[in-house]
């Protein structure tokens, strides 16, 4: 196991009465692509802001490269590339000014790479940032986040504003490239298909808490959708055990299990039920089961 590039321990954050982060602990190893997924308002951006030192921990700790980003912003931020969700680039700058300005902050800036990216992204160096389309703006933000070849690239909802072709080609290629060079990418998204495509590890954040944190393969192989028929009719599926969500009524239930096949068979036999099918699940289904499934188990079909 690599040394963690980011170590978060029992991080709590409230905004007034609203709990944004409720004791989050997370360790991200060096190298690879880490996907942080969660619905709107789950706390993803808040968590990323803590890693950048834009928010200070009310309790708990954040260490990035072993540094406190609030106490040592230069040490931490000079090794990070960041693309924010709202792409708040200065409208009054031209692209070449934006590149030149950003370059001054990073000793490792690679001007040739920056120029390659600029050409690939089809950005006119004399265009003002305010005249860029949403997609172009995201590309400009990506350019200045990437061109100093950061040890850690943090992308907050990188896909919003990019059309599907650009999303697939640019984002996928960049994320893989960075990861292949031994660098780390941390990106948040609620578009789960792209997370599934590129992430090596994921964490599901729901209502300010980490619901799951594991390698992508383990997440996929560890969750199954089980169609089963109970011998007796029930209005509520018996809670607990390997079942983390599902729906159904009376005899027929479609349940989500977090277990290997043998454990599933054992659990089903204890219920005196028949297995109709066991299917692998998409990350989308796993996410829904993880974040909404418990209510369905308790409440029956909704």
């Amino acid at each position: 196991m690599n040394q963690p590039i980011l170590e978060i321990r029992d991080l709590k954050r409230n905004f007034g009465k609203k709990i944004a982060l409720d004791g989050v602990s997370l360790s991200i190893p060096t190298g690879g692509v880490f996907g942080l997924i969660g619905g709107n308002g789950a706390g993803k951006t808040t968590l990323l802001k803590h890693t950048l030192g834009l928010l200070s921990a009310q309790s708990g700790s954040v260490r990035i490269f072993g540094l406190d980003p609030v106490a040592d912003p230069v040490g931490a931020l000079s090794r990070i590339g960041y693309l924010s969700e709202n792409r708040d680039l200065p409208d009054w700058m031209r692209i070449h000014q934006l590149i030149s300005y950003t370059r001054a902050f990073y000793p490792n800036w690679d001007p040739e790479y920056a120029e390659t990216l600029r050409r690939d992204f089809e950005l006119d160096p004399n265009a003002f940032v305010k005249t860029l389309s949403r997609g172009q703006r995201a590309r400009a933000g990506l350019l200045v986040a990437l061109a100093h070849r950061p040890d850690l690239l943090i992308l907050d909802e990188p896909s919003s504003g990019l059309d599907p072709v650009v999303r697939r080609d640019i984002l996928g290629a960049i994320i893989r490239t960075i990861a292949d060079e031994g660098r780390t990418v941390l990106f948040s998204s609620h578009l789960l298909d792209e997370v599934e495509r590129v992430a090596d590890r994921i964490a599901i954040l729901h209502q300010g808490r980490i619901q799951l944190c594991a390698p992508m393969e383990q997440v996929r192989s560890g969750h199954k959708r089980v169609q089963l028929r109970l011998s007796s009719s029930v209005s509520h599926f018996p809670p607990g055990g390997i079942w983390i969500g599902g729906e159904g009524s009376r005899h027929d239930w479609s349940m989500v299990a977090e277990a290997e096949i043998e454990a599933i068979r054992e659990a089903v036999s204890l219920l005196n039920a028949d297995i109709l099918s066991i299917e692998p699940m998409s990350l989308d289904d796993i996410f829904v089961a993880r974040t909404a499934g418990k209510a369905l188990v308790a409440g029956g079909k909704s």
Binding site: K49, G53, V70, S78, P90
Partner: protein, 537 residues
């Protein structure tokens, strides 16, 4: 049977938007109203307290003329801010005509109402007999013109000459209602004639149609029409903007950023206002000494421009409304202390350039006066005048910068509220209590304010020192500078500075000025703290 959809009337929408405007901007409007009202109230209050308020004195006409303009401009600015850009209404099912009416009518009526109300209150309190209607209508008209021009020319370079031309013409006309155009005001505008009403009607109609055209054009997404000035501006941008600047380090890049975005504000304000002084001087008796006197007052007013510029300079947000630091800047690997020094250096450069503009114009006038054989009273410009206006402007600018730098608008609101409350108490205490209590109050208030500022500075330095944002060497230098300045003030006070006299002597004034002087070194500790607080929330 399907009932046809009834669209709400313009009146109903206008009413909703008006209520919304009040709800959103009540604080700005109150500040505008109190701000507009406070200086006339303060000065008239002082005159009354000194027994120098002579209602029938011809000099009161000039005071009335000046105050009416100041009140109209001050409140008009806050109404302009509250009304906002018409573009926010473009997505509503409203015709261009309706948008124009909604945008112009309530705001204009507010300006007319405020001017009339303020004059009426001043009349009531100070027993004046200033006429209400003429100036109130005139400032409503000027406001409507100004608003339409802003919509038409937006932020283009054309806006400035257009505004100057319009305001100059209107100023000539308003001045003509107070006597000959090129002299001091000689009469009150007591009667609004039929011709005056026709001028109002013409100007308002013109504003309406100009505004309509501006809305029509920008609602279609059309750029403003290119003029020679815009063409030249584009040409300059093409020639010089394309050059890629290479920065040696992050500090240099950030200095460039701060200057290009905000640093020029102070010199631009000074460069716009001070050169107009000789123009407006044409309206008066045209004596060089009078012009010098105005420039002398403008020297003190540099601190007001400095305060406005400081608020802008400390804004690390994406817009005027959002002053919290954005993520683009917040994630730049630049140490907070270095960054705050860059900001202070930008403030210093900005201040230096603005003061230089003022000083050049002042010197030219002085030189012109000497050539014309007119001498000025030397006591108006004692040795400490120039350092004092520079230090005052620096302190005002950097204090405002630090307040804005916290990234929290609540601090501006608290300061604005405290200022208004303080002003009201300060100006009314003499009228509502006995002289002895009032003098005790002034003694405690002036001394207390000075001591509070001094303690605030020491406290901020202590916190910054504890957080390693300043070191002992900085503290020693700041202490020496402050001690030197206070020593100079003490020496000057003991050598007879002309001050208002009371039973308590010069002590409260000395404490007040010492406290104010501590604001000169205040920002060196406060700026990094404020920036850190803004950067990490």
């Amino acid at each position: 049977m399907t009932r046809p959809i009834q669209s709400p009337s313009v009146m109903a929408i206008s009413r909703v938007l008006f209520v919304d405007m009040i709800r959103r901007s009540w604080f700005v409007l109150i500040i505008g109203f109190v701000g507009a009202f406070s200086l006339p109230f303060l000065i008239l209050g002082v005159l009354k307290a000194k027994g120098a308020l002579l209602v029938d004195d011809p000099a009161m006409i000039l005071i009335h003329f000046t105050f009416a303009q100041m009140m109209g401009m001050c409140f008009g600015a806050s109404v302009l801010h509250a009304a906002g850009a018409p573009s926010r209404l473009y997505v509503l099912p409203l015709s261009n005509r309706a948008i124009m009416v909604i945008q112009m009518v309530p705001a204009t009526l507010m300006v007319i109402g405020q001017t009339a109300l303020s004059i009426w209150i001043l009349n009531l309190i100070f027993g004046l007999n200033w006429p209400l209607l003429g100036n109130a209508l005139a400032f409503g008209m000027i406001f409507a013109n100004f608003q339409s021009m802003m919509n038409l020319f937006q932020k283009s370079l054309l806006m400035l000459p257009a505004m100057i031309l319009t305001l100059t013409l209107e100023s000539f006309w308003v001045k003509s209602r107070h006597g000959p155009i090129f002299s001091l005001p000689t009469q009150y505008w007591t009667t609004v004639t039929l011709m005056d009403w026709l001028v109002f009607a013409f100007a308002m109609t013109l504003s309406y149609w100009i505004g309509m055209y501006a809305i029509y054009r920008s609602r279609c997404g059309n750029e403003i029409q290119t003029s020679l000035i815009v063409y030249l501006s584009n040409l300059i941008q093409e020639l010089f903007g394309k050059r890629t600047k290479v920065f040696r380090n992050a500090g240099q890049a950030q200095s460039w950023f701060e200057w290009n975005l905000k640093g020029y504000v102070f010199p631009v304000i000074v460069g716009m206002v001070v050169p107009l002084t000789p123009l407006f001087w044409l309206f008066s008796e045209r004596k060089i000494t009078a012009l010098l006197e105005v420039l002398r007052v403008e020297g003190w007013l540099l601190s007001v421009a400095g305060m406005v510029s400081g608020l802008i300079l400390g804004n690390m947000g994406l817009s005027d409304a959002s002053i919290g630091m954005g993520q683009f800047l917040g994630t730049k690997p630049l140490a907070t202390v270095s960054w705050s020094r860059i900001l202070l250096r930008t403030a210093f450069q900005s201040l230096s350039l603005g003061v230089l503009i003022w000083a050049i114009i002042f010197s030219l006038v002085l030189w012109g006066g000497k050539l014309a054989g007119e001498s000025y009273p030397a006591e108006l410009f004692p040795w400490w005048y120039f350092p004092a206006i520079v230090l005052a402007a620096w302190a005002a600018m950097t204090f405002a910068l630090c307040v804005s730098l916290t990234g929290r608008t609540i601090h501006m609101k608290i300061l604005g509220g405290a200022y208004c409350g303080w002003l009201i108490v300060f100006t009314t205490i003499g009228n509502i209590t006995s002289k002895w209590i009032a003098e005790l109050f002034y003694f405690c208030a002036l001394s207390g304010f000075g001591i509070a500022l001094f303690l605030l500075t020491i406290g901020i330095w202590g916190v910054a020192f504890r957080r390693n944002m300043v070191v002992l060497r900085h503290a020693i230098v700041a202490g020496i500078v402050l001690t030197g300045l206070i020593g100079l003030v003490g020496w000057q006070f003991s050598n007879g500075l002309p001050l208002p006299t009371n039973n308590h002597g010069i002590t409260p004034y000395f404490l007040l000025v010492s406290g104010l002087l501590s604001m000169v070194v205040f920002p060196f500790a406060a700026a990094p703290l404020a920036l850190a607080w803004n950067r990490t929330r």
